[in-house]
């Protein structure tokens, strides 16, 4: 009986994201047939591109790694009821700090790695904390401040790698740091495959966060703050403290997303390498699709990564352009935002009805 209800609840929470994915795929199908290709064949090629063989699976997981981490960071903020839109800036600052730490902190490989992870986490966290502090101190809306701080962070990181820390050794002077010493690279999980230790870090973090949110008093405080800040305050939860903590961890984990990309796949910070693939926004979508459940966010992140790697495979092997994936993602975004607006609207409506609940 109880198990059955739990299952029902689980299914219920899955219905909406699954419908969104299904409608996304259907819209994609329309677009594919518009360009005159066979829908089933194209989707088959996409599937193969994402999960067709072991190599593609690992490529998908490698791509998913930063998306999972971004999604987890955002999930914390969303759970606390704050809209952190600054994952991109937090990730980029994390990445550049991690690269510099790995380059310039003396010591063995493991020390460099730990220093880089710490630096990446702190840089992202503090950047995010700045927005949180401005909200609590000066009532600067987080949604806006985090969004605007992205530009500052991305441009500042760009400056760092095009001036003081630029790698001038190569023939073409790209905006990038020197390459990190091989001892400080995150190990690959399988020989010759792109998925690296960062994926394990992301999954462990997803499980840890799930446990923290679900079973600990800190998690309880975060969730209650997100559900109803008045209730949280009434019950003795320190609103400001919990908000700042959530923002710090949210940004810190986004910083880790940049860090593991640098340490595990790029081995240096290259300007644009994290912003152009849109990791931050895909991560945002993953968190929203999964309703900020950490485990669900990880799964959604992997699916979204698969959509992207699959689309690349599709482009390699068919005439269908890569942009089909953008169409599908676009529809997903539409549905996810529609869901948010619907919920928001329902809440508003209910709030109006409160006094009618006699």
């Amino acid at each position: 009986m109880k198990l059955q209800r739990k299952l029902q609840q689980l299914l219920k929470s899955l219905i909406q994201p699954l419908t969104a994915v299904l409608i996304g795929l259907l819209t994609g199908a329309v677009a594919i047939s518009l360009v005159g290709a066979s829908v089933l064949e194209t989707y088959k090629v996409m599937w193969d591109g994402a999960f067709g063989n072991f190599y593609f699976v690992t490529a998908t997981l490698a791509r998913a790694t930063p998306i999972i981490l971004i999604g987890l960071g955002l999930a914390i903020a969303f759970r606390a009821g704050v809209f952190n839109m600054g994952a991109e800036g937090q990730m980029v600052l994390g990445a550049v700090s991690a690269a510099l730490a790995a380059l310039y902190v003396p010591g063995s490989g493991i020390i460099k790695i730990l220093a880089a992870l710490l630096a990446g986490f702190l840089a992202g966290g503090l950047w995010s904390l700045l927005a949180g502090w401005m909200e609590t101190r000066f009532k600067v809306q987080l949604l806006i401040s985090t969004l605007l701080l992205n530009y500052v962070a991305v441009l500042f990181a760009g400056y760092l790698v095009s001036r003081p820390f630029q790698d001038k050794s190569g023939s073409a002077a790209l905006a990038q740091t020197h390459m990190i010493d091989q001892v400080a690279w995150l190990p690959k999980l399988f020989q010759g495959m792109s998925v690296h230790m960062g994926f394990v870090i992301a999954m462990v973090l997803a499980i840890t966060l799930y446990i923290i949110l679900r079973f600990t008093s800190a998690g309880y405080e975060v969730r209650m703050l997100g559900y109803n800040p008045f209730f949280a305050e009434y019950g003795g939860i320190n609103k400001i403290k919990v908000l700042l903590f959530s923002m710090f961890f949210s940004g810190g984990i986004a910083g880790l997303a940049g860090t593991v990309e640098v340490l595990g796949s790029q081995y240096r910070y290259v300007e644009g390498s994290l912003t152009v693939p849109g990791y931050a926004w895909t991560g945002l979508m993953a968190a929203l699709l999964a309703n900020s459940n950490p485990l669900g966010t990880a799964v959604a992140a992997i699916l979204l990564a698969a959509l992207q790697t699959g689309a690349m495979g599709m482009e390699r092997n068919t005439e269908v352009p890569l942009e089909i994936a953008s169409v599908i993602q676009g529809v997903l975004i539409l549905f996810v935002t529609a869901k948010i607006t619907m919920n928001w609207w329902k809440v508003k409506k209910k709030a109006g009805d409160i006094h009618g609940a006699a």
Binding site: Y234, G236, N238
Partner: protein, 512 residues
């Protein structure tokens, strides 16, 4: 005499749930029919069917001898049925006149004739002795005035049968008096009134005939002259009400001491003005006052939810001023909040999570910051048994509980802290009589235990039933404190309206 309205064997099913089960009522011209029942008894459903907002599953509505079917409120209004809702539906930026004539504006050459409209409203207002200022903006009107606008609107639309849905819930005692007079006057003028309420004393004052509902069924139909409050309550609840436990005389030490508490307002007038109040152990101090006179701010200042400008709050030897909410709660404060949805619960959270607030910090339920959910669930199940909280499971969303059940959960949670001091703000708002009994009983029990209680309620009867002393608040000050035996509803009403004590005492002496 024939009936102007009969509803015969009305039933309404929502899925498997039978909200109305073959309910019949009848109403004569010029008669006041009260429909009473606890929350969820089916009063509202019945009226929604009459007003065309719901379609009956079965049954028949007979109006002036003819069977009618309403597809919407529009039909009902056209057939002379008007409804004054519990929540006013006024355009706050429009004038009183515009709000009344809306939909049926007097026209001149196709244009809205404001002058004629205002005159009509004035006429109507004088004819029915319902006092409004036609030119005032509706948003500036008091709650009582807004209700009068609603009643006039219904009359303007030509209603002969007027449904009033819980009309006194939002009014001050004096406004209630006035409304009851209006109802009687309207009935004398030949209007038929259906009064939906759960306040029995009012029913006894104004109704000719009373129909009692319980669980969707009629449990009684009586003439007012043949019944009394006790009999009605028994029919409503389905059993006899218990007498409250006797209060033990206690002369406790001062427990909560509030001194010269001041909170500034936006204007020159402070919200709380040098307010001092002492509550002793084993004492219930009730705060009476028209809402908006600083009661909410006083509670927030004591609990730490609001900053104060000057003054101090102590609980026993503990200084509260400048301390966090958590600190004060740990020092022995529990708080039933006035608004259960705003402060008391998170609608999205599970029932057990709403119950967990505060407990998750306690050692019994927290092991190195992991919450011991299993031990906590035992506690919650205890509350559910004791207060008969109806919930499908502990995982149910708090927002899905009915208002009364959620209130019981909150009361159980706050009583469960077993603190020395409790703030109970509107502890029984929107709960049915059965639950009210439980909550009152629990509060008295806590008092007899030697704990101190500050009770804030907009129900004077609740204040009078429970309090040892009653402090009347007006414009951020405590204007008077009366002992239990010297307080009467009348005396309190005068003080609450800002009248001075001399007036009040002369009034009581003349009536006595």
């Amino acid at each position: 005499m024939t009936y102007v309205l009969e509803m015969k064997d009305m039933s309404k099913k929502y899925g498997d749930f039978l909200a109305n089960d073959t309910i019949s009522i009848h109403l004569k011209k010029g008669e006041v029919l009260a429909i009473v029942g606890e929350n969820g008894a089916g009063k509202t459903t019945l009226m929604r069917m009459l007003y065309g907002l719901e379609q009956p599953t079965s049954g028949e509505i007979v109006l002036n001898g003819k069977t009618v079917k309403f597809s919407g409120p529009h039909d009902a209004i056209e057939n002379g049925i008007g409804m004054v809702h519990q929540h006013f539906m006024l355009f706050s930026d429009f004038s009183v006149t515009e709000n009344i004539v809306i939909g049926h504006e007097p026209k001149q050459n196709g244009f809205f004739n404001r002058k004629a409209a205002a005159e009509k409203v004035k006429e109507l207002s004088e004819h029915y002795k319902i006092n409004v200022n036609p030119l005032k903006t509706a948003g500036d009107c008091s709650i009582g005035e807004q209700q009068r606008i609603e009643i006039l609107k219904v009359l303007y639309q030509g209603a002969d049968i007027i449904i009033l849905d819980e009309p006194t819930a939002v009014l001050t005692p004096l406004e209630i008096e006035e409304l009851l007079k209006t109802i009687q006057f309207l009935a004398e003028q030949g209007k038929s009134i259906i009064l939906i309420t759960h306040k029995l004393p009012e029913v006894m004052k104004v109704a000719d005939q009373i129909t009692v509902l319980r669980n969707g069924k009629v449990t009684g139909n009586v003439l007012t002259q043949n019944t009394d409050v006790e009999q009605l309550a028994t029919m409503m609840v389905g059993r006899e009400l218990q007498k409250l436990t006797d209060r033990i005389q206690l002369d406790g030490d001062p427990l909560l001491v509030v001194e010269n508490l001041t909170i500034g307002g936006k204007n020159a007038k402070p919200i709380l003005d040098q307010l001092s109040l002492t509550i002793h152990r084993g004492e219930i101090v009730g705060i009476a006052g028209v809402s908006g006179n600083g009661q909410s701010e006083l509670i927030q200042a004591i609990t730490g939810l609001r900053k104060i400008d000057s003054g101090s709050v102590h609980l026993g030897d503990t200084i509260f001023s400048g301390k966090t909410v958590a600190y004060r709660r740990n020092a022995g404060l529990a708080h039933i909040p006035e608004d259960r949805y705003l402060w008391g619960a998170a609608k999205e959270a599970a029932v057990e999570e709403t119950g967990l607030m505060g407990y998750y910090r306690k050692r019994n339920f927290n092991q190195s910051s992991f919450i011991k959910l299993n031990s906590f669930r035992k506690l919650v199940r205890g509350w559910i048994d004791r207060f008969e909280i109806k919930t499908p499971s502990l995982d149910e969303k708090s927002g899905n509980l009915s208002g009364g059940n959620l209130q019981k959960l909150i009361v159980a949670r706050e009583l469960g802290f077993e603190t020395d001091f409790l703030i109970a703000a509107e502890p029984t708002r929107g709960v049915d009589i059965g639950a009210m009994e439980y909550i009152h009983e629990a509060i008295i029990e806590k008092r007899n235990n030697g704990d101190g209680i500050l009770l804030v309620s907009s129900e004077l009867s609740e204040i009078l039933t429970l309090s040892d002393r009653i402090a009347v608040m007006y414009e951020g000050k405590i204007v008077d404190i009366l002992n239990r035996n010297e307080a009467t509803e009348e005396r309190l009403s005068v003080l609450m309206a800002g009248g001075n004590e001399n007036e009040a005492s002369t009034k009581t002496t003349t009536t006595a």
